[in-house]
Symmetry: C2
């Protein structure tokens, strides 16, 4: 790990250097909309670490974030977060995962304590908490389903998910390296690579570069 000044940057409160983006709100944007401008992070920067107190709750404004935990000799990527998605909310006091940017990103923050105390009185804030937790639950359940499938199916599901959550266009951009995809799907980078070349050979996808793909819709299962 090429730690620059990550630990300093991960400490709170983070520096403000981002440009204000006119946040195209999805459901519970309320709290973030009236927030201060988002913070900008370079690629591969630690946002918070597993075990640190969860003082903030985060919204991706641009870029891509991964959360992961270090297993026993292996990294398990729990989720990727794209613009208009939320992360860093914990049931307990501390972060159960580490969060890093994948690419350079703008990240909005709210103080967790403010949100939690508001939720004790305010049903709007309470609903936001419930909504975000429900989204996390659905994601975890989808991942459970995915992990029971073959490598080929996992890849297809993964690419479909990226496509849906990003532009929705046929041409997609994978912001993360193969190793991230492998750690997320519970595979090795070799298997990910082979599954991709197989999709390429069957004309299911085209590869402009290793990170830019065109999905020939509909992706044929197996």
């Amino acid at each position: 790990m090429l730690a620059r000044n990550q630990s300093a940057l991960a400490s709170l409160p983070p520096r403000k250097s981002g440009r204000l983006r006119p946040s195209n709100t999805s459901t519970p944007g309320i709290l973030f909309d009236r927030m201060s401008e988002p913070t900008s992070y370079p690629a591969n920067e630690t946002i918070f670490r597993q075990g640190e107190p969860a003082e903030y709750f985060y919204a991706v404004k641009s870029g891509c974030v991964r959360t992961f935990s270090n297993h026993n000799g292996g990294r398990r990527i729990q989720a990727f977060y794209f613009p208009n998605e939320y992360f860093g909310l914990e049931a307990g006091e501390d972060h159960s995962v580490t969060a890093e940017t994948v690419t350079a990103s703008n990240i909005g923050l709210v103080k967790r304590a403010a949100l939690v105390s508001r939720a004790a009185r305010d049903t709007v804030a309470a609903n936001l908490l419930l909504h975000v937790t429900t989204m996390e639950l659905q994601h975890a359940q989808n991942l459970n389903v995915l992990l029971l499938k073959s490598a080929h199916e996992r890849l297809v599901d993964f690419l479909r998910g990226i496509q849906r959550r990003c532009q929705g266009k046929d041409e997609i951009d994978l912001p993360m390296p193969r190793s991230d995809i492998a750690d997320y799907l519970g595979l090795t980078i070799e298997t990910v690579s082979r599954a991709l070349t197989r999709l390429k050979n069957t004309s299911t996808i085209s590869m402009l570069t290793s990170r830019r793909l065109i999905l020939r819709s509909p992706i044929v299962p197996d």
Copy 2:
């Protein structure tokens, strides 16, 4: 499936025939405590079906319940529920899984609509919703971790989980058949059986019967 009168029984509202149990409450028992007496179900009885409107929210008072969805030619068991655990809460309007008793069970119910409408005003009810959703999230995340492990490790984790959630004693009772364990752990019954005999051969467990085990603590990983 030896359907007796399951569809009739699954329809709402369910018959009352249980005895009142003095519910030894865990955290959010409030709503269930002031409820009517629990309903008793025989073993392998459908409580609700995937796709049905989610009119009730349930608490296991005694026995054991499984929830599952029918995949593509395979059944995926999402969770087992033991006494003092809650199930049947859905983010949407309909049940996303089917729930069945594993053994004869007593089940408490509350009307979902009452709970949800109360949550809109009442932060106590809102917190119950959040708490239960958070428990479900943690369960789903634990399952994600589990599914990345070897068959042997999955079995060990599973047995430990049963032990922790039931009596906490060394001798445990598996209420479910091997096929349920296999469907939950993403394995085949043969692999489950082999993993168990291996644990037996290494004296990690003793088998009184195929359903009653003694865990020699601590269970040695691999």
